[in-house]
Symmetry: C2
Subunit: 382 residues, 2 copies
Amino acid sequence: MNIHKFVMPEVIFGKGSIQQVGESCLRLGATNVLIVSDPGVIAAGWLDVVVESCRQAGLQYTTFYDVTINPKDSEVEKGCRVYIENECDAIIGIGGGSPIDVAKAIAILATNGGRIHDYEGVDKIHHPLPPQVMVSTTAGSGSEVSQFSVIVDTKEKKKMTIISRSLIPDIAIIDPETLSTKSAHLTASTGLDVLTHGIEAYVSLAATPLTDVQAKNAISLVAEYLRPSVASKMNEEAKTNMAMASLQAGLAFSNAILGAVHAMSHAVGGKYNLLHGDVNSILLPYVMEYNLLANPQKFADIALFLGVDTRGLSAMEAGKKAIDYVKQLAIDIGAPQRLADIGVEQDELRQMSVVAFHDACMITNPRDVTVEDIEELFRKAW
Amino acid sequence: MNIHKFVMPEVIFGKGSIQQVGESCLRLGATNVLIVSDPGVIAAGWLDVVVESCRQAGLQYTTFYDVTINPKDSEVEKGCRVYIENECDAIIGIGGGSPIDVAKAIAILATNGGRIHDYEGVDKIHHPLPPQVMVSTTAGSGSEVSQFSVIVDTKEKKKMTIISRSLIPDIAIIDPETLSTKSAHLTASTGLDVLTHGIEAYVSLAATPLTDVQAKNAISLVAEYLRPSVASKMNEEAKTNMAMASLQAGLAFSNAILGAVHAMSHAVGGKYNLLHGDVNSILLPYVMEYNLLANPQKFADIALFLGVDTRGLSAMEAGKKAIDYVKQLAIDIGAPQRLADIGVEQDELRQMSVVAFHDACMITNPRDVTVEDIEELFRKAW
């Protein structure tokens, strides 16, 4: 048996928990906070709630919201200048994965200096980061609990995956009420991202009993609650359970790491400004088919978690049922089906395969891959 | 829905993980560590392993091992003097619940001053504690991951329950190999303590979906692996799974708190120097019978987790099957069956009922209790 580690932030979960953000910062010794968000979060009104909470806690604060989807190195650098100019001593990220990943990246530069590119890969951060409180509003990225930050290198047009224990925030706040302002498309896209996290973590080479428990629950909750969550903004039970699914999938993949879907999706996201969840959900069934051979029993387990009746089936047969289920779920909730449909060009596939091959997430993929294998998967999904 | 919080230390789990204790302290900035253990741990050779790991990490260290089962206020005070005299700046606890609870209590006094009695109850600790690394060797107490420390007030002859976020260690190390030196009786006793943690956390008024997941797994693992673990010191699979059960039960009860079994058991443990797990396992079925009315469905769930066939049964009927299972398990592994058999005197029951009524663990018991109710439960178990 290997020695395995499991780390997570303090989690505050529930309706209204967003109002604890100011007090949470105070508890960590903050006096002057940089609040990182994006225009969508501001339009939905959630930045105001965070600002009011900071004000009530007697904190000074500065806001920064020049953040786009698939966030860029230049945005991190700009945010870091704002942090330093305003003499901040703590950082809040509020939103989906983009503002949270930028907030983490600013935290790195604030105390470690240099450029964000210096920290690509595993365990490159050597000085402690300022206190970090992350507020998730998407039930998708899991970044609020994970040791990941993914930032686009705009010159190389690729995503840099930064993995470090230091990137686990001090406190993660997950308020299901914030999900009521998401569009059906964003709910579908981020929900399929959660499913991808759960499945990739469960079959990862670095999976442990502690991550399996979290991945299993996340997968089951997505199967039960993603459809109703896409169907209605006001279904509070579905939103709460999708928020829980996102949290548990985040805990699973933060500790078990991911696999080929994310490696490939990062390569696509570096070139094209697409929703991460859309790319993942297109790739997921093809990568599952490829990986099935590596651990048929774990894929059969996934079928069970999804609620599929696998009685009388072999592990391989049950695993295939899991793949069918994932395809059907994406169709049911109107997710895009092919890379070509979302604007990916065929003549980029080869080069993206090379980039994906070198992504940190590929290390824990359960089946060996070559650049050619990746290219074939990309072609199938195109 | 309530807002709920979930907090845990960084966990390092697996065979050989005990050798990471020195490096773990180093990572937390320690230079001079107090190592708290007890004579049993020393006899089993585990203190030597910890000392060697600290030496290899270049740490200064002092050992303290005047710790007994149901550890006492006087032991905490003595340990604190050793900590201060040797100018320590971090603390290791190695052993079962006793050395770990003493290590935590020393950590409180080291930076907060006063007497340990000042901190009884919930959230009475106001200054940060020194870095704490806890190494569990019993698969029982869960103290290595919990926000609890339980210390005997020798003057009042009662257990003081101290509950605080600050008592969650920085790093918990769980090495299943350390379980191979435990006697069958200690394995049975601590294993039934794990079961009690899982069941009390699952039906606690403060249970959440995050604690339920951990409690469920802990209960299932005990049902599958406690018997073989008692049967053989060398059954590595059983030891590993009981260590995992203890960890998950610890995560569950640290965040969901406990109930009447622990409140009553603390009252007994304050008067009599008995194994905590023995007292718990005697009380558990009687308290389950009493609590069944408060949440029949959750007790029916427990029957399922234990592997009982509940098809066709009502929730009340299934809950009763869970109680039968727990009784039979205790018989199978030779656990004591009555309080009278382990030396508790009948004329103490009334006074212990009054003490149990005021224990912090009673607050989250799912069914209301009076002193008279407790006394009746004690009499049934006597």
